[in-house]
Amino acid sequence: MWALDQPYTPRADRLSTGTPLTLLAVLALGAAAAVLVVQLGALPPGTVRVVGVTAGHGALLATALAWVGVGTPSQVLAVALIGLASAAAWAAPLGALAYLMPAFWILWLVARGQLTGLGLGTPVSPRGVMAGALIGAGLSSHLLISVSRTLGVQVRVDHAPDVMAAIAYDVGANVLAAECFFRGALFNRAQRRWSFAGAAILATAAYVLRYVVDPLLPKHVELVVGAVFYLALLGAANCWLLWWSESLVPGLVSALLFFAAYRTLGAG
């Protein structure tokens, strides 16, 4: 029993210990520089989106990797792959498939057992995956029904390539980075310091804030309120999924299902 056998020393490290500040600073400077250059007209406006996606998702993913002890080269490679994928998606619709590259890189790290601290590479129970699928499906169906009844938005079936590209973006950047950071890293660290409720509130609030300030989210009140409502539910549910199943996979499943449903509405 730990309380009898192991020496106990009160925790001294901070929640942000291990944050790759240099890499984050480089990404922030790069994004600012890109905005400046685009403002000066030296680069096309689409460049801002490429750099923004790279900096935003890259920062989340790199921080998550750093917090579980993955080396700087792997963090930089993850950021670079997201940047490449973002650039490829900007260049051509099929280029969005390049978002699978960071996903494969993460899978490679998982296979090497480097991401168990995030809840990846640990045993996954079918019940956990089923619960994730049920939560994702429940929230998705509710989203589709409620927005179709309130806002009159319909499921879009005539732009399948755009939907697939958006889903690829979710798989390789949006959902992957968000779940790895807000659940695998932030919630995981927080629940080792505070109660489940406190950790879930912190992680979910940060998760919701990340999407509210996202320039890609349309700034209509109904959409913002809806986003806050569903993302808060999704975030809290995914915290519970990670807590209960001790794996990030069920949360990834639920988030992917939810965002896939969201993409079919054409709001993304």
Partner: protein, 497 residues
């Protein structure tokens, strides 16, 4: 859970089929699964079910607000949301509290029942740990309790230095650890002191992969205090019973000893009477012969010698009885101590025996330049006489009796050794008790059972010690250690090397 989900789905389907808008009467049916969830799963279940009900009914209420604003029907729908949330959470909280109180009382009863019997502390703690582990729903549980200068640990082998339990045991304050190692869900640990009389007497420690809420910790603290009091009560009762048992045993032992003493005294009276009568008979008989008959001078001399020997024997018995009387009154024998050379005293006593018996070979061996001792000559003679007499009585005819003396640091050691049957080990510790006679020896030779008691009293009155060593069938050696005159006069302590 699936029933509740099915009920929520069914109510939603009925509301949709009715198509009566946000004020549909069927919306109140959501209360049934919400209440069921609250009663079954507590606050969390009630809250989640209420949230699910609100989510499911939202598509019927929100479009109305979107279309027509806050109409009466829409407000009714919103009020229903609030009602569902209120009912679900409040009912669940009440149910959770009731369950918590029930479990707490069950735990307290379990503690009382487990610690009520008379088992040892180790067994009681092990039983209590088993009983509590099931009721407290924790992954690991340990109870540690101080028992004088040792720690009794139930649920582990030891308390490592610097461990959580060790810290609580030393500090006496409860400690909660949010992260007790392991991957995935955080493993919590909580240790609280077992308090009795304001002092920590042990620790109750639990570990769980998951939450240990503030309320649970408060409950565990109360349980710790309760266990402390129960353990202390049990310990007091156990101690009281142990004392009662010890007292009864001591009374029984004392009674046995008194009975034995009584029997020994009765036996002593009979033996002493016999011992006194024997020399008296001899004195009476020989004196009558001398009075009425005319005998040759040699015969007169022989009879006079016999009478002298018997008179000495009679005198020795009377002296022993007088000394024993003083011992039993808690007084030391009266001594007249003078500087005394030991070797002549030993030789004189041994000569008496040599003249009186031809059955044993008595040898002496005294180291040269023995120190002068501070002793009463008469008492020393009685000590030696008793020891040599015993050696002769309890060793076979023809065997040797050895009397020796050697110098020690600050004193002398006198040894009387025989090659007799020896003394059984179990009797060695009692041979100096008054009236005690070794059972096997009682039939082998005559004796009063006071000789060695008198020897011990006389030797200790001189500031010396007496020790007996014996091996069955090999013989017995009695060692008397007396202080030298110089040591005795300077009142120094010394011992046998």
């Amino acid at each position: 859970m699936s029933l509740i989900a099915a009920a929520l789905t069914a109510v939603t389907a009925l509301v949709a089929l009715e198509d009566a808008g946000p004020a549909s009467l069927l919306r109140h049916a959501y209360l049934v699964p919400v209440l069921a969830a609250a009663l079954r799963f507590g606050a969390v279940g009630g809250g989640l079910a209420a949230m699910a009900a609100v989510l499911l009914s939202a598509p019927f209420v929100l479009p109305e607000i979107e279309r027509s604003g806050l109409t009466t029907e829409a407000v009714e729908g919103l009020v229903t949301f609030a009602l569902l949330g209120l009912v679900g959470v409040l009912s669940g909280v009440l149910r959770t509290r009731a369950g918590r109180h029930r479990r707490r009382y069950e735990v307290l009863v379990t503690i009382q029942r487990t610690l009520a019997d008379e088992a040892t502390l180790d067994v009681s703690l092990a039983r209590l740990r088993t009983a509590l582990a099931g009721r407290l729903r924790v992954d690991e549980l340990a109870i540690v309790c101080r028992d004088d200068d040792r720690l009794v640990v139930a649920g582990g082998d030891r308390v490592a230095e610097g461990s959580l339990v060790g810290r609580v045991l030393a500090g006496g304050e409860p400690v909660f650890v949010e992260d007790a190692g392991g991957s995935g869900r955080a493993r919590r640990a909580f240790a609280t002191p077992l308090v009795s009389g304001g002092q920590p007497i042990g620790v109750l420690a639990v570990e769980r992969k998951g939450e240990i809420s503030v309320r649970e910790r408060a409950t565990l603290e109360a349980i710790g205090a309760h266990i402390g009091v129960a353990l202390e009560n049990g310990r007091l009762v156990s101690r009281q019973r142990r004392f009662a048992a010890e007292l009864a045993e001591r009374v029984a032992t004392a009674r046995r000893e008194l009975e034995e003493l009584d029997r020994a005294k009765s036996a002593f009276v009979a033996i002493a009477s016999h011992e006194l009568r024997t020399p008296l008979t001899a004195l009476q008989g020989f004196s009558e012969i001398l009075a009425v008959r005319r005998l040759p001078p040699e015969e007169v001399t022989r009879l006079a010698e016999v009478m002298r020997r018997e008179a000495r024997r009679l005198g020795r018995i009377v002296s022993d009885l007088l000394d024993l009387s003083r011992i039993e009154r808690g007084l030391e024998p009266a001594l007249c101590r003078v500087p005394l050379k030991l070797e002549p005293a030993i030789e004189a006593t041994v000569d008496v025996f040599r003249q009186g018996t031809a059955t044993h070979l008595i040898t002496t061996e005294c180291e040269p330049s023995l120190p002068v001792i501070d002793a009463d000559p008469d008492a020393l003679e009685r000590v030696l006489t008793n020891l040599i007499s015993n050696a002769i009585k309890y060793s076979p005819t023809g065997s040797a009796v050895h009397v020796g003396a050697r110098a020690l640091d600050g004193g002398v050691a006198i040894e009387v050794a025989d090659a007799g049957r020896g003394i059984p080990v179990e009797a060695l510790s009692r041979v100096f008790e008054p009236y005690y006679r070794v059972p096997d020896a009682a039939g082998a030779a005559r004796g009063t059972g006071i000789g060695l008691a008198v020897v011990k009293a006389l030797v200790e009155a001189h500031g010396g010690t007496v020790r007996v060593e014996s091996a069955p069938a090999l013989g017995t050696r009695v060692t008397v250690v007396l202080p030298s005159y110089e040591t005795a006069t300077h009142d120094r302590r010394w011992s046998v090397p």
